[in-house]
Symmetry: none
Subunit: 454 residues, 2 copies
C-alpha cells in the first residue's frame, strides 16, 4: 500500500486538472440539446479507464446515453468489486444564480465549483485514479475490478437497469462500490447503509379547451390552477402525515438502535435551519430531522406551472395546470404500488369540472443493507484508516435506483462510500466538491480494494 | 330624422369603402415599427371628422401615440355627448392563421375581415358617419358633441387617462358614448350597463435560501409550492365563495329586476360548456352563469410557477413559488381596499416556515350605471327603434378602465352601445365585423343623438 499511497499523494494536482476537463463537458442527460456532450463525456471516461490500466474498455450503446464498461479480472480466488458511477449531471437552471459558469470549473477555498463536481463526476473519478495508482506502482490490483459508468442516473437509470437485467454474468460481482453519497460532515468517515426510494408523478389538470379572458369568463368556469392547488393541499395533513390511503402500510419502522445511533450524531436543528435561511423547520410530527430526511417517507411538489408565468399581469384564465409531485420512500415501500395509490387518491379527490391526467415519471426502490456485511466492514475499516477516525453509519434521503437493482439482481453488497457533503449544492446553483475529500476518496478507494481483498 | 336616416341608408357602400381605407393602416400601438402608421391613422380620423363637419379638429401629441379631438358646440341649452373610441389595434400574430391578410380588408358573407374591424375602428367610425349625416342634411347636430379618439387603448390608455385628469373642462360632457363592446347576439339591440373591476395581486413564497435536493432535504423543511397551494386552497370555499374577510362587504347585490332581465336572455349552459370543451361548469353557488361572469366578484389564479417546470423529472425542493391571483370586482368594491384585505388574509394564513411577499400589480374600478339614467334610456330607445326590437340590458365581465375614468372625473354617464359580437375574433386571427351591424350602428348613433337631445 505504501507505493500506492505515495503515488496518489504525489499526483494530487494532476487529478484536479483531469477532473476539470471532465467537468467542462455539459453532459446534462435530460436535455436533448446535450446529446453529443453525453458521447463526449462517455469517451472521456473510457479514455481515462484505458490510460489507468483497465482492460476490455468499451462504450456500450443503449436506447439512451451510452454506458462505459471496463474490467480487470486477473486475481483468481479473490472477490470481484463492481465500481459504479455516473457521468451525467443535472440541468443548471436557474443559471443566473451561479457565481461562476457551471461548466467552467473554478477553484475557491479548496473547493471546485461546477455542475457535476460532487454529483457525481468528482466522486466517480476517484475510483479511476485509485486503480490507476495500483497499475502504475504494483502493476496489478489486489482483487478483480469491473467498472460500469452510466449517463442516465439523473433521469432514472432506465437503460442501465435493463442492461443489468440482460447482462448479469458480465456484471457479476461480490460487492458494488459507489461514491455518490455524502460524508456526515467534513472529515468524518462515513458509510451510508440506507437509501430512500422515489415515486415521481406528474399531474396535469385541464379545464377549458383554451386560455380564456379572465374578465369575460371569470367566475363561470372552474380554474385548473385553483383546482390543482386544492388537490395538493389534500395530500398532507397539518402534522406532515401523507393522506394517501395505504401509503404507510409497508413502512419498516426505525429500530431503537438506529434511532439511538442517529441521536448520537452531532446535529443542531438551529444551525441546520440557519444554513437554509429558515426560521422554522417543518416535517412529520414525532420524528427528528435526521429521521425525517433519512428514514421516513415524504411528499414534495418539485415543480408547478400554469397560466401566465411572465413578468407583470396578464388576465388569463388558464386551460391547464401541471404539478410535479414526488414521494421519497423507505423500506419496504414499493414505488409501483405507491404510484397506484397516488393515482387512485388523486382521481378520487379530482373534481368533475376538469380533466386530470396522471403520469408515473419515474420510480426507485428504497434499500437498507446489513451492518455486518463483509464489504461494509472492509469499507468501514478502510475509511477509518484514511481519515484517522471511527467510521459513522448513516442513511441517505436520496435515491440511487440502480443500487437496488445491483443489490437485487447481482446479489451483491452495495458499499456506499460517498465523499460529498450535503452542503455542496448538488442539483442547485454553485455545486462544488471539497478537493481534500476528493483526495481522501482516492485513498479510501485504494484502501478498500486492499481491505476487501484480504 | 327622415333626411338623416335617408342619407345614411343611401351612403352604405361609401361607408364601407371608407372603413376599408382606415382598416388598411396597420396601427398596432404596441409595436415600435408601426409608430408612423399610428400618425397616419390619427390623421385619417382627424380628416374624416373635418370632412364630416366637426370643428376644432386637432391632433394632440402625448408621450405615446396622439389623441384626436373635435367638437361642435352650437346647441346651447342642449346636453353634450363625448364620443370615445380608439384607432389603435392589437398585433396580428399568429399571422399564418389569417385566411386573408389582416390589413387587406376582405368582405365575405356580409362581414368585413381585418385587424381592427370590430375592435374598434369599425365601431368608432360609425359615430363619425352619424354626425356627418346630420351636417350633410339638416346642417347641424341636435345637441353638442365632442370626440376624443385615442391610439393607446390596447396598451392601457395611460396617456389618455392623464389627459382626462388635466383637461376636465375641455372634455366636460353629460354622457360618454362608446361603441367598443358586444351585442348580446346578432340583431339583438343591447346596452351594456356594467363592467367589472380588477384587483391583480402577486404572491411570492420563499422557503429555503436555494433550491434543494428533494432526497437529501425532503421531509426536513417546508416546501414553498405545497405552502402556496395550501394558501390558494384557503381563498375560496366549496361553494365558490371567497373567504377573504370583508371581501363581499361593499358588493351591491343584483336587484330582482336585473336578475329577471338576465334570466330572460337566451342562454344555454350546455352550449356554453360545450364550446369551452367542459363537461361541467362551476362558480359561486346561488347564481347563474351570466350572473357569475357579469355581476359577481370572483377570484382566479392567472398564473403559477415554482421549482422545475421543464419536461420530465427533476428532484428539486424549490426555494420559491409564485402565484398571480386576480379578483374581478363589482360595484361598489374598491380595488385598493380589496388589495389590502387580500394582503391581510394572505399574511394571516401564511405559515411561519416561509417568507411571503405580496404585490398589488394592477387595479381597476367596477362600474354600473343606473337603468333610469337619461342617457341610458335614450340609447335604449334609439337602438330599439333601429333594430325593431326591445333593447336588452347586459353587463360585461371585463374591465375598461377609461370608462370609469370618464364617469368619475367628468361626472358623465357612460353609454356602452357596442355593435360587435364576442364571436368576431377580437384580439385573434380573422377578426371581422358584421356590416349589417355597422350600418345599424350608424343609425343607432344618429337616433341616440336625436333622443338624447329631447
Amino acid at each position: 500500500m505504501e507505493s500506492v499511497v505515495g503515488y496518489i499523494n504525489s499526483n494530487k494536482e494532476k487529478y484536479v486538472e483531469e477532473l476539470k476537463d471532465l467537468l467542462r463537458i455539459p453532459s446534462i442527460s435530460t436535455l436533448a440539446v446535450n446529446k453529443n456532450d453525453m458521447i463526449t463525456a462517455a469517451e472521456f471516461v473510457a479514455g481515462k479507464l484505458r490510460e489507468a490500466g483497465m482492460e476490455n474498455v468499451k462504450i456500450i450503446e443503449t436506447k439512451g446515453h451510452p454506458l462505459v464498461y471496463a474490467d480487470w479480472l486477473k486475481a483468481p480466488g479473490k472477490p470481484t468489486v463492481l465500481v459504479y458511477g455516473h457521468y451525467d449531471v443535472q440541468p443548471v437552471d436557474p443559471i443566473n444564480l451561479w457565481d461562476s459558469p457551471p461548466f467552467e470549473p473554478t477553484i475557491k477555498d479548496g473547493k471546485i465549483f461546477a455542475r457535476g463536481a460532487t454529483d457525481d463526476k468528482g466522486q466517480m473519478y476517484m475510483h479511476i485514479k485509485s486503480v490507476e495508482a495500483y497499475f502504475k506502482t504494483v502493476g496489478k490490483l489486489p482483487l478483480n475490478v469491473k467498472f460500469i459508468i452510466e449517463g442516465e442516473e439523473e433521469i432514472g437509470s432506465g437503460n442501465l437497469d435493463e442492461f443489468v437485467n440482460k447482462n448479469q454474468e458480465m456484471l457479476k460481482c461480490d460487492s458494488v462500490l459507489i461514491s455518490d453519497t455524502s460524508l456526515y460532515g467534513p472529515g468524518i468517515p462515513t458509510l451510508t447503509y440506507g437509501l430512500r426510494g422515489l415515486c415521481y408523478m406528474e399531474v396535469v389538470v385541464t379545464g377549458p379547451n383554451r386560455d380564456l379572458h379572465s374578465g369575460t369568463f371569470g367566475g363561470g368556469v372552474d380554474n385548473p390552477i385553483n383546482v390543482i392547488a386544492e388537490m395538493i393541499s389534500k395530500l398532507k395533513d397539518n402534522n406532515g402525515k401523507i393522506k394517501i390511503p395505504g401509503f404507510y402500510k409497508d413502512v419498516v419502522n426505525l429500530t431503537k438502535k438506529e434511532r439511538e445511533n442517529f441521536k448520537r450524531l452531532p446535529f443542531s436543528e438551529k444551525q441546520y435551519a440557519k444554513a437554509l435561511g429558515l426560521k422554522v423547520l417543518k416535517g412529520e410530527k414525532g420524528y427528528t430531522t435526521l429521521e425525517r430526511v433519512w428514514a421516513r417517507p415524504t411528499l414534495d411538489c418539485n415543480g408547478i406551472f400554469g397560466g401566465f408565468t411572465g413578468e407583470g399581469a396578464k388576465t388569463v384564465l388558464p386551460s391547464k395546470a401541471t404539478a410535479k409531485i414526488s414521494m421519497r420512500l423507505v423500506p419496504n415501500q414499493d414505488p409501483k404500488k405507491i404510484a397506484k395509490l397516488f393515482t387512485s387518491y388523486i382521481n378520487k379527490i379530482a373534481p368533475k369540472t376538469v380533466k386530470v391526467e396522471i403520469s408515473d415519471l419515474h420510480g426507485a426502490y428504497p434499500i437498507a443493507t446489513s451492518l455486518d456485511d463483509k464489504a461494509t466492514l472492509s469499507a468501514a475499516t478502510a475509511i477509518a484508516k484514511v481519515f484517522g477516525k471511527k467510521t459513522v453509519f448513516m442513511r441517505e434521503g436520496g435515491s440511487i435506483p440502480i443500487v437496488v437493482s445491483f443489490a437485487k439482481k447481482l446479489k451483491a453488497s452495495p458499499v456506499l462510500m460517498g465523499m460529498g457533503l450535503n452542503t455542496e449544492n448538488l442539483h442547485s446553483p454553485n455545486e462544488h466538491f471539497n478537493l481534500n475529500h476528493f483526495q481522501l476518496g482516492i485513498l479510501s478507494s485504494a484502501y478498500f480494494l486492499d481491505e476487501y481483498s484480504k
